[in-house]
Symmetry: C2
Subunit: 642 residues, 2 copies
């Protein structure tokens, strides 16, 4: 028998697979994408499933406890069916599409930035022109006549074109009686004539794409270029996630696996193409209608997207191949849009401050403001920019992916069933919580983790060092396999039946993450001789910021202790910035100018950051004067769950 | 029998052809290219051959006299062998390679322009750079580091590159220990990085090509770019000649024959590729070594070369698709050089004043001089430029191809056996002549035709109207098939055994041609309010000028009557100008500036030209005051044949 049958629950899907294939491959066959951060090496423990009947051969047992193993739990990537099997896939092991990334909602006290009105001057547009017909007294060549008309009638200079357009130019001009529609793509101050047609045969309105290429998720906005209006948005997980959770593991995959770089490029292009197809189908458009693409992403993502060598991003002194890669034609990348569409990537500043950040800063407007602002994007990586219209400084604070749920036993991304808000009552006996989508809890996402850290400290369960206080009598505090842990939700309430806990190791991870953020900020401030209190506005960007409770984030010493009304949530600012660059050439130029004048501070250079980091490994900080509103080192203001 | 055998004399080559194929196809099979201006339609009469044994079926009899037919003469394109045949091909029917085009020799009284020394700054070169290695304190991206070094160390700004170079950049920089050779192609004020290599692995010196794309002949110069030195030259007939002699017949072929335009493009590209192969083999180089190409040609030739639509060049108001087509990559055209090499075309001014002229003007330096100069290029077409550093006016004088031997019964191109200098003694009884290569005469080329016209007038054989004087008793004056004619060389002295004659119709053709040149010049002069005598220098360009006798050209009223020492022969100025643009970006910019400030005067617009033309249909002119040195309307100064 060369085949075996796998029946998946609760999906009720049966698939046939070849003998020797793993349950991950079987799930893929069934259309179910399992989570995985290690590329199927059994290292990350994300693809946990329960074999309810039949036998599997295990090629490894890591990340599975003896208790779990006894009840049939296996890692799908390590399990090869010996014959027909039935397998249960818990929600926590699935890659779930979460569209929420694309929307905005007011989280806690966060204000939302009003969208600035921009003058629409997109990267692709069509000019309808009436040329003077040539006479013997004015018999200049067709191409010069066209260029001259563009200049005189529309003020468009610095124009070039290709042989294809030149070839059809004489015929089209005469067939149209010198009344033509000219397709113009803008690139770096120049305009490329990409087509010329008789008027009346104009294509429908041209579209463009703004693309946010995140390490974890990718979002695409379809934009009606002439109107500058969003015509649709789609988002999904970056398929590169199968090769590693963070940029470092992706870079290692690119370098060390033969063909790895091509594999990663293919994964991201396919992810984007999938979203494009979805958007185009919905609007009944063809790939030919999409005439310009602007991508924003961190430096590594852009390297992998363009197929550039990411090797030296990871190695000291952390040098990218190109911060400002020249635009390329879509056809060269295999993007399913008009083959001649230019793909622009937002300019990066360094290996760890990418085009997502420069585009995001443009969205805040802080580059034009007098007041001192802080831009914070805590996603899979953590980047921040400090400054105003006179200066801009940036750093990457290596917060690690703890706030994305990675490296946390019961951590998960902000998806349905994630605990996003938590309140631990004094003593740690009682807990109130809220989940995304009001589903049974499956794990804890970043904002929930901040709440827990703050709340456990406020409730006296952990001390200022983040250590469990001895002698706590709450049944929720217990000794687990990896030391002390706190039970946030008992198994009878959860979606998967297991307890949701926070361990001592989790707390230390979170402490390091929050300390990195604050230490990065302090290092920036000190380098310009300013105190934390000088910050007048804080802009929180990215998926993480959506659910964050600012009070709690201040209480744990992660965010500066300034009035809550100084904080603004700006959503997916990378995507918004990319859209601005797509529909406004002025905005694009401003983003380039932002990148050009942003000073990158390399935190790993010198001792300052490390000193600040160590000082910040307390709740909220060794220097309590930095957090005047956080009373006596404990979180005094009880807040209600929202 | 599906095949028949054709034996060619005097070549002694036998070939087998399929039954039904013509003698033109048989000759091609034998490696002999026959002349032909009509594309095998039997209309031009150029491919005359003699069938000495065997029978042929004739598909037409035009252009063959009964006497010729009686002795076996046929048009090869109209003759299909019925069985084995033996065929004699006279020299006059062969397309002969004539390298003489590429050289220069002092013709008659013509001085030769000394080549200006130019600062070498070629369109492609390699910069060897030592970059500062990155440190934590200076960890900008590789690409910015490279751009910054190019700017600081070499003053090179406005640089772009492609993804291929960016992909290898990080590896090459580190493998070379930051000491690299960077290949730079220059295009329109910008520089494209086309490659980066560790130093020590530099390619041999890069080469470029200067190409003169003439209607009749094509010349290619291989240039060592860094030294700015010519490494080899090759020239041959433009294979497009098979589709017509002049640009109008080529345009008609392009428009009216399905696939004609592609056929013409293929023919010119193949001609150039043949010359490239020849040059590269001689120098033991590969196509990869050729990194830049500059072409100069008339507007139609450049259109056909680039595959642009030439339709409207021919139709009033004579509008080209593009005077200044953007550079294209060699691979796009199929040129057998480095695929990334940019192919630049010298800028044209109008349909009939092309890049060969603007490049030629740069060679004369008249655009920079205070004195008023005239640039004359009388080839298959006739173009002239009048002006100085303050202004430049150009026109195309539609001289027709008479001076190339076309439309003249015994006319031929300047090749071995062509009569290039003639003296007719008083009364027309005796004639002295000289041929190119001292071969037995086969026909008369342009300079010989001018001599004959001048000399027949001076000898009293023809009158001021160009008509044979009645009552001449010389046996050389006789009535031929097409009216009166003059026997220049008797058949017993010629290479083909036939008499070489000049007919009344030939003389009228030559009168029209010379009148067109002078009328063009007069029209230009009058439009700026100047008299002919104001011209201080005359530059004669092109193959025709090589052999011209200036005294005779003045005597017939073709060239202005100014001192002979004002005349300078500048050889193939199109090729020289292309070479200047190849090795000196400054020269290229100057040629663009020349094209930009050259005013084109359309002679077919208004009546002025036609009036001047009619006035010039005399020897030398109706207004004798324009030719003070030409005594009493007859050519008084007997000159010796050189």
């Amino acid at each position: 028998m060369a085949e075996t049958s796998v029946f998946f629950l609760p999906d009720n899907i049966e698939v046939k697979i070849a003998l020797g294939q793993t349950l991950v491959q079987a799930a893929a066959e069934a259309g179910i994408t399992l989570r995985g951060a290690c590329g199927g090496k059994g290292a990350c423990g994300r693809c946990k499933v329960q074999v309810s009947s039949g036998n599997v051969t295990l090629t490894g047992t890591s990340k599975i406890t003896p208790e779990e193993a006894a009840t049939g739990w296996v890692l799908a990537c390590q399990a090869v069916p010996e014959g027909d099997v039935t397998v249960f896939i818990p929600e926590a092991s699935r890659l779930v599409e979460h569209r929420v990334l694309l929307e905005e909602r007011q989280a806690g006290v966060l204000g939302i930035l009003a969208e600035e009105a921009v003058e629409v001057a997109p990267l692709f547009h069509t000019e309808v022109l009436r040329l003077c017909a040539p006479t013997l007294a004015d018999n200049t060549d067709d191409y010069s006549r066209l260029l001259w008309t563009l200049k005189r009638e529309r003020g468009i200079e610095k124009v070039w074109t290709n042989r294809r357009v030149l070839k059809e130019l004489p015929r089209v001009l005469r067939e149209s009686d010198w009344h033509v529609a000219v397709d113009l793509a803008r690139i770096g101050g120049w305009s490329e004539i990409q087509g010329i047609r008789p008027t009346g045969r104009e294509a429908e309105d041209a579209y463009g794409l703004a693309v946010d290429i995140g390490t974890t998720t990718i979002a695409v906005e379809l934009v009606e270029l002439t109107a500058g209006k969003v015509a649709g948005t789609a988002g999904t997980y970056n398929r590169q996630a199968a090769f590693g959770d963070d940029i470092i593991s992706r870079i290692i995959h690119a370098i060390e696996t033969p063909g790895g770089q091509a594999e990663l490029q293919k994964a991201v292009i396919e992810t984007i193409n999938g979203l494009i197809t979805e958007l185009l189908q919905f609007r009944k458009l063809s790939p030919q209608d999409v005439r310009a693409v602007v991508c924003a992403g961190n430096t590594t993502m852009i390297h992998l997207f363009l197929g550039l060598d990411p090797t030296y991003i990871r190695l000291e002194p952390y040098v990218p191949a190109a911060n400002v890669p020249p635009p390329v034609k879509a056809a060269e990348l295999g993007l399913q849009v008009h083959p001649e569409a230019w793909v622009h990537c937002m300019p990066a500043v360094s290996s760890y401050v990418g085009g997502d950040i420069t585009a995001g800063v443009k969205v805040t407007g802080m580059n034009d403001a007098e007041s001192l602002a802080l831009f914070l994007d805590i996603g899979t990586n953590g980047e921040m920019v400090l400054g105003n219209r006179d200066w801009l400084m940036a750093c990457a604070c290596s917060a690690g992916p703890a706030f994305e749920g990675s490296g946390i036993a019961c951590g998960m991304r902000a998806a349905d069933g994630a605990i996003e808000a938590v309140r631990v009552f004094p003593g740690g006996f009682e807990v109130a919580y809220e989940t995304i989508g009001n589903k049974k809890p499956l794990g804890i996402c970043g904002s929930g983790l901040i709440d827990i850290l703050s709340s456990l400290h406020g409730a006296g369960v952990i001390d200022r060092n983040g250590r469990f206080v001895k002698g706590n009598t709450s049944p929720r505090v217990r000794e687990g396999r990896e030391g002390s842990e706190f039970v946030v939700v008992w198994g009878n309430e959860t979606g998967h039946g297991g307890d949701i806990t926070v361990t001592q190791a989790d707390i230390q991870n979170l402490m390091r993450a929050k300390a990195a953020v604050f230490a990065g900020l302090r290092t920036l401030m000190i380098s310009v001789g300013l105190e934390i209190g000088a910050v007048e506005r804080v802009f929180i960007a990215g998926g993480f910021g959506r659910f964050i409770n600012i009070r709690d984030a201040i209480a744990i010493g992660m965010l500066p202790d300034i009035p809550l009304e100084s904080y603004t949530y700006i959503g997916n600012s990378a995507l918004k910035g990319a859209r601005l660059a797509l529909i406004s050439r002025k905005a694009g130029e401003e983003i380039k100018a932002i990148a050009g004048r942003m000073t990158y501070v390399e935190l790993s250079s010198g001792n300052r950051f490390m000193e600040e980091f160590i000082s910040a490994l307390f709740l909220p900080h060794t220097d309590m004067s930095l957090f005047p509103s956080v009373e006596g080192g404990s979180y005094g203001k009880v807040h209600s769950c929202h």
